[in-house]
Every structure is written in structure tokens, then in C-alpha cells.
Symmetry: C2
Amino acid sequence: MSTREQALALDAQDPLAPLREQFSLPEGVLYLDGNSLGVLPRATPARVQQVVQDEWGTGLIRSWNSAGWITLPQRVGNKIARLVGAGADELVVADSTSVNLFKVLSAALSITVADAPQRKTIVSERSNFPTDLYIAEALCRERGFELVLSEPDELPTLLNGRTAVLMLTHVNYRTGRMHDMAALTAAAHAAGALTVWDLAHSAGAVPVDLHAANADFAIGCGYKYLNGGPGAPAFVWAHPRHASRFWQPLAGWMGHAAPFEFTPGYRPAEGISRYLCGTPALLSLAALECGVDTVLAAEPHGGMAALRAKSLALTRLFAAKVQADCPALRLVSPTSDVQRGSQVCFAHDEMAYAVVQALIGRGVIGDFRAPDVLRFGFTPLYLRHVDAWDAAEHLRQVLHTGEWREPRFQQRHAVT
Amino acid sequence: MSTREQALALDAQDPLAPLREQFSLPEGVLYLDGNSLGVLPRATPARVQQVVQDEWGTGLIRSWNSAGWITLPQRVGNKIARLVGAGADELVVADSTSVNLFKVLSAALSITVADAPQRKTIVSERSNFPTDLYIAEALCRERGFELVLSEPDELPTLLNGRTAVLMLTHVNYRTGRMHDMAALTAAAHAAGALTVWDLAHSAGAVPVDLHAANADFAIGCGYKYLNGGPGAPAFVWAHPRHASRFWQPLAGWMGHAAPFEFTPGYRPAEGISRYLCGTPALLSLAALECGVDTVLAAEPHGGMAALRAKSLALTRLFAAKVQADCPALRLVSPTSDVQRGSQVCFAHDEMAYAVVQALIGRGVIGDFRAPDVLRFGFTPLYLRHVDAWDAAEHLRQVLHTGEWREPRFQQRHAVT
């Protein structure tokens, strides 16, 4: 196990350390929840004010042209594409992750109905993020498909001639376990099924190469590791072999080939732009661009590979110290680097919630995920090795002092 | 026809005149496009900065509880409800207008399938806003329904035992013609059909009473007369008799009865909250609240009825002067007050686009709607009678000088 001095020494040598200067980190906070809501970039407030005051306030409706609002979903999409191995003009920003999942899953089912109507199941992980399962469940009801859920290790055995789609979140939100996207995509394709990947806990956190994995569809979240701000719009990608093949049913005007011709019949845009729907939430979209830029700022320093190396160092350090100091907690994240995303989770049947609250009381912000998980996300853009060490030390103290037993840490909030 | 002096005299007596002080109107601009993008309220920049700097920057993830983010869709929804005759907790802010239309139309079709499966058509207006028709077209394809389009006067004759849903935009985006919501809803109900009303050009513009009209579903836009900012989120309402009856297929976690229990099966929230889907775009949602507040500020001055009276005075004044001065332009908005929304439109086969551009060159901002419409929206919160007079005078001058023939006014933009 490392010492605090060793952690400080690692920070002193860290070539990514200057990237932390891009962020407004509040005093007295150790923030291990960038996988739920990324930190505010320093550039964002001024950019949002520019959009509000100049582009909206002064430019008004003219800003759709003069400020480039109309192409912002594509512009920001092209930036995100560089982080996930998508090609230029293959990815757009739109709507929420849930809504985008509905679009791509609808398209994937339409492809199935056309090419392989005997395939009737969507396979996913039982502990996938619930909104993904809810959207799939609703679509299955509508379209006469069946949702088949399993443990992660059993997934390959469930892929067969009945499988329409393998739908997975690349990095599990509760455990931080990362699937092998290329291997599972190959297994799905070998079984004749399509793949839909949710990159919510991957984009900006771990290297993703959608083309190398030969994935079919992907979606992702703007407000976690992309630092886009609360409820930032999400993104959607379809492999070019699929992008223009079917409409998705959210056939709004922004996905039309010529939205301002105002023709009554829907004619979808070529390519991924048909996955746009209504008018984008511009303030949130502009903030997202600032967040994505903070990740792209790592490109001269080695990009996602360098961020990944640091992330692994942080999660290793934290997990090792907590395991050594807090044997009461059960590590639920993989110890193997290749299977672990950018987070470390522990479980405890009784005290998980209260321990998280006690940590928050100390300014160490992680989160609780029902029913029993303590979750700690590590964003290498703004976290230092010493932060990982200090957070683990706070956790040790909260357990060893019994601080978590204080009544104020038992009280449940609406969002936890 | 009135004179400029008479217009000024009306402004001097206008009890709503102080409401204009709520807005940041750019110098040298006469803005007649609040029906496309409302003007920036003075309160918005500071509020957005508060959300960005304090709630996001400092509060971080804690703000879902401490800043009330988690209930903001309901809080802003309850404010909008007061403007459209909806009850408390019957209306929420979510997603875009297009996405919300998909939700309510899906629900209406589900009700039809359950109660009256022989009904197979959605009836709408041929010149309805295209995104509404696109969404309906896509749903019809998915669900085996047929979209039947007609001219507005023929609508009642098309309602019959085959009709599932009458789907209309209350005020037409091109002509400004306003449907009689109560009469058409009664006709639809008499034929056994449900109604879906798009209030994009109504909310904050004309009095709407969803309960008095006995409407079934409604959606609307946040960035037009509600002054919520570019791409502000939209709203959705279902009559309480329908709200809890069916899921809508965009079954995201924010519409779940207990989103933070993270249970794998979807259990929809009671009432309208099940029409939420993903995480809301918080910056845009916070800006929307400021915009809605500018409309609610009229309540002590007579509310929507007073705003409506002023709007009618403005549109009458403008239409009368343009008709007198510019006989080449064909009025396409109704002359009857009860049939006219808060806009005045003229048509011209050749010069519509260039005339609008020439007006914009003079700082008089209206918009062109393909193929031949010059559209002028009147937001009584911030427009004066003299603005209506001056705008009409600019239009007269653009036509009479031939200024619109200048080549720079012929060049098409992406968004017009």
C-alpha cells in the first residue's frame, strides 16, 4: 500500500496535472462523483453567458444562422466522436440518453423485423442502468419482443438465433465492471444479432473505439465524464451501415432532410442527423461543448490512453488502501484493470447509505446506489493521486470512529 | 387607420406597459418574432449564472436535493399550468415539443386500441406544423394507423367512427388562425375520438382553458411566448382521467415511481410525472422558469385576458395599416379577432423572402415561412402599439422603395 507521500510524489510527476486547472473545484471538497455529475469547467460560465446575453439577448432569432446554433448538435457531436472512435459526421448530440436509447433500439428492432423476423429477444444485463431496461421493456411491449436479462458472465451463452439485439452499458453504473466491447460485439454478430452500447460511464472515462469494435449503435451521456453540466444533452451514434437505413420513430423536424422547407411529409436527413428530433436545448448544449473541450485538452498529453492510465492508478490506489483499512467493506468493482471502468465501488448490507452521508459531511462526495453500494468515481482530469489517498483515509476514519452512526447521516433524501 | 400619434397615446394609457421593463430588448431592433424565439428576460442571465456557478459549480451533485433540481420539472410545470387552464400537478416540463407529442399521441393511441380498436385514423390539419405531422406519420407507420389531413374548415366533417385522435395545433404557425378548442374537442368527443392540442403558439399568447374545453392531451413549447430561451424544454399535460391510464413508451427513469430505488422493472409514477423521461437539461429548464415568470407577472394586471386584449389591439393595428399601405400583400391571418392568434401573416408569391430579409436589415425582425409567408408575431408583454405602427411603416417603405430587390436580400440562409 502506498503512503500519502508516495501519492504526492506521483502527482508531482503527473504530466496530466495541469488539466486540473481547467476546472472550478469548490474549496474543501474531494469530489468522487464525476460519474454522476462532472465538475464545472472554468470556461463554462463565460460561454453560457455569451450564449444568453449576446447570442440570445442581442442576436435573437438571427443566431440560428449567425451563431451557428443550427449546426451545434453536429459540431459538438464531432468532438465527442473523437473520444469514442466514431468517424466525422457519424455522431450527434440530442435529447437525453433515455430518448436516444429509444431511437437506436427502435432502429435496431426495425432492422431485425426486416432482416430476421424470427429474432424476438433483446438481451441485456440484469444490473444494467434501470432507465435502459425501462426503455427496452417499453419497446418490447410495443413491438412484441422479449427482454432477456442475465448476469454479465452468462451473456455470451444467451446469444442465439432468437436474439435481435444485445443491449449493454459498457461500464456498469453500480460495479464499474467494464465489458469487452469488441468480444461481445463479435459474439453478438456471430449469433446474427445487433449491438447497442450505452457509453454513459465510458465516454471521457475510458478509451472506446466503436469502429474497431464494429459496434452497431451507441448512445451516451453528456453530464458525467464529459462535464457538460446538469442534464446536459446526450449523444447518439449509428454505424454508417445502419445510419440511413431506417427512420427512428421520433421523427421530429430537426431530423428532416430540409426542416425549413416545412413540407408535410417526413423525409429523413441522410446519416446520423435523422436521429435529431426537436429543437435542442441550446444553453445546455453550449455548456456541453465546454465540458467536451476539457477532455479534448488531454489530446496533446496522450489523450484517452493517458487519462486511462492515470484513472487506473487512481482507482488502484484507492481500492488497495480501502481494502487494507476497511475489511468490513466488500469490493464489488473488478480488481483486474481490463475489467474496471473509472470507478471503485464497495458494498455493505447495512451501513452503505450512512457511510456515504458521513463522507459527504466531511466534503468527500461519492454516492450511494441502492440497495447497498458506496460508489466512488475517479475523473483523472481533475483528481490527484493524493485525492484518492485522502478519500480512502476519510473512509477509514468514518468507519473506525463510528461517525456514520450519527442520526443525521441516516436521513434519506429524494436523490441519493 | 390610426396615426403614429394615436399609437403613442394608446401606449401612454397601457396598464401593461411596465411589463416591458422585464426584458432586455436590443437597441435598434423591433422584434416581431417572439413566436419563434421570445426575448431574453432581464432576470435570466443572473439566474442561469446562479445555476451554473453556485448550484452546479459549488453544490455539484448535492443540488439535486439542496437546490430542488429534482422537482423543477413539476415546479415550472405548475407555473405553466396557470396559463393554460390546467390544474396543479397536472403538467410537467420535459424534453422537446416533438418528443412530448410522441408521448401523448402514443398514449392516445393506446387508449384507442384498448377502448375502440376499430378506430384507425388520426385527423389533423394539412398545414399543421410539420414536426407534428412527422411525429404522427411515424407513429401511424409503427402502430398501423392512418394520418388524415384536411383544410381547417373541413375538420368537423372528417370526425367519425374511424377517428382515433383529432390532433391540432391550436394556433396555426403559418396563418395565425386559431381553432375553437372547446367546439372541436366537443365535436371529436361526440364522434368518440380523443383530442391532442399543441399549444406552441398559444401558451403565454392567448387564453387557453384546457379543463373548460375538456381537452384530453396537450403539449407546448417553452421558447416562444414563454420566453424560455433557445430550445427551452417543452411541456406536457394529460387530463387526469387519462394521465395514469397507460405508460407512454419513453419510459425513462425520471418517469418511474421511485427512480432512485434502481429497480429493474418499470413502475410508472402516478399522474403526469410518468411523462418525464430522462434527466432534464437543467440550465435550459432554469431559464424557462424565468421566462414563464415574465408572463405570470401580468396576473395582477388582468393576466392572460389583459394580454390578449392588448395582443388583439396590436395585431389589428398592424394588419390594418399594412392592408391599407401594401395592397400587393395578401393577408392570410383571420380578420376576425376570435379566429386570430397573436400573429399577423401576409403572403406574396415572389417577394416574401426578400421583403423579410430587407426588414431584418432595418432591424425589424419577423420571419419567412416557406413557401410564401411573411410572419409577424406580437408579444404584448414587450411590444408597444407604436412598435406595431413603426413595423408596418417599415414594411410600407421596403415595398415602396423597392429596397427588397437588393441582391443581398435574396440570399438564402440555413434557417429563415
